[in-house]
């Protein structure tokens, strides 16, 4: 009866994804494609921010957008009308994208000749933070109505983000949103994160965000 055997595996399930993400990041670096993983909760103004960003940068660089948001109200065509190449990814109801799904998207998309690809991740502050997509950097949009204590409630999301855009600054007077507290809480989770207050609607702070992206893309291709 030596047919049964206990195999000691001790193999990480996340490690697999981390490895795939590292490979993808390396390949994109070689191709000179900067991949930005954009995360947020639903309704934070991610799509408006994205549209304004494309309009501002489309003459300087070739931009592609991979839409993974299940409940996205912007389809690939709308993004294409703004002058960017776009693809809608089907997550099959999944709550996040992992490195393998991102790779499949990238391969179907064809990123040849693109300088910047923005991956609009699923609107959710939990799961997308747990899976490295292989992106060059992680960005998130936090909107004023969500409250300045979000970094305390979703610590992992803020610890993986390189830049946090605090959107809807135009409604700040109507909410109990404390910008200094917000920055303090973000830096508690990630001392290196850049916090940029913006308003995608009025354009406030957007130049600072565009500059951040320009610098990032230039450094990636350096």
């Amino acid at each position: 009866m030596d047919k049964f055997r206990v195999i000691e595996v001790k193999q990480s399930i996340f490690e697999n994804n981390d490895k795939q993400a590292e490979e993808l990041r390396k390949e994109l670096k070689e191709q000179g494609v900067y991949l930005l993983n954009l995360m947020s909760s639903p309704g934070s103004g991610k799509t408006t921010t994205l549209s304004r960003t494309i309009e501002a940068l489309r003459d300087e660089m070739k931009i592609g957008v991979m839409e993974a948001d299940i409940d996205s109200d912007v389809d690939a065509r709308t993004i294409e009308q703004l002058g960017a190449k776009a693809i809608q990814l089907h997550t099959g109801g999944m709550c996040h994208l992992d490195a393998d799904m991102t790779r499949q998207g990238i391969e179907n998309f064809g990123v040849d000749g693109l300088d910047l690809v923005i991956l609009e991740n699923v609107g959710n502050l939990v799961c997308p933070a747990e899976f490295d997509t292989g992106a060059s950097k992680n960005a998130m949009v936090l909107s004023v109505p969500e409250g300045h204590d979000k970094p305390l409630k979703y610590p992992l999301m803020f610890s993986v983000c390189d830049v946090v855009l605090v959107n809807k600054m135009d409604v700040l007077p109507y909410f109990d949103f404390d910008m200094e507290k917000c920055k303090e809480y973000v830096h508690m989770r990630n001392p290196k994160a850049t916090v940029i207050p913006i308003c995608a609607k009025t354009g406030e702070g957007m130049e600072q965000w565009f500059d951040w992206l320009r610098r990032e893309v230039a450094q990636w291709n350096a």
């Binding site: 195999i7 000691e8 001790k10 193999q11 399930i13 709550c95 939990v126 992992l156 508690m188």
Partner: protein
């Protein structure tokens, strides 16, 4: 609810491991889930049933062992269980805590045949 996707990843890893070990199937798989991994044990159990239904792992028992999530205070070095300390060091009150265990999920062992 990414447990469904994780179960799918586990099945693929099992396929590879069993092939490598030249074994047919498995009676049991033992998973270690870290308290800070964001993975819910009961969702894993439900997802496992759904993912393995009508496959060769249909009768493979999923056993889960939880690994405590321990954080160390970067200011005073105190260690605490992250889920009960409210992300603050119980000794000095610092919020600069770094997780030192319980962030991962691993396949511990497979009882293969």
């Amino acid at each position: 609810m990414h447990e469904l996707g994780l179960c799918d990843a586990i099945v693929k890893m099992m396929d590879g491991i069993l092939e490598q070990e030249r074994m047919e199937g498995a009676n049991k798989i033992v998973l270690e889930i870290g308290e800070l991994s964001g993975v819910e044990a009961h969702f894993m159990e439900d997802s496992w049933i759904a993912v393995t239904a009508r496959t060769k792992y249909e009768d493979t028992e999923l056993q889960i062992e939880m690994v405590p999530g321990i954080a160390r205070c970067l200011d005073c070095g105190e260690e605490c269980r992250a889920v009960t300390c409210n992300l603050r060091c119980p000794l000095c009150g610092s919020v600069k805590l770094a997780p030192i265990s319980g962030t991962d999920m691993t396949i511990k062992s497979i009882e293969a045949y």
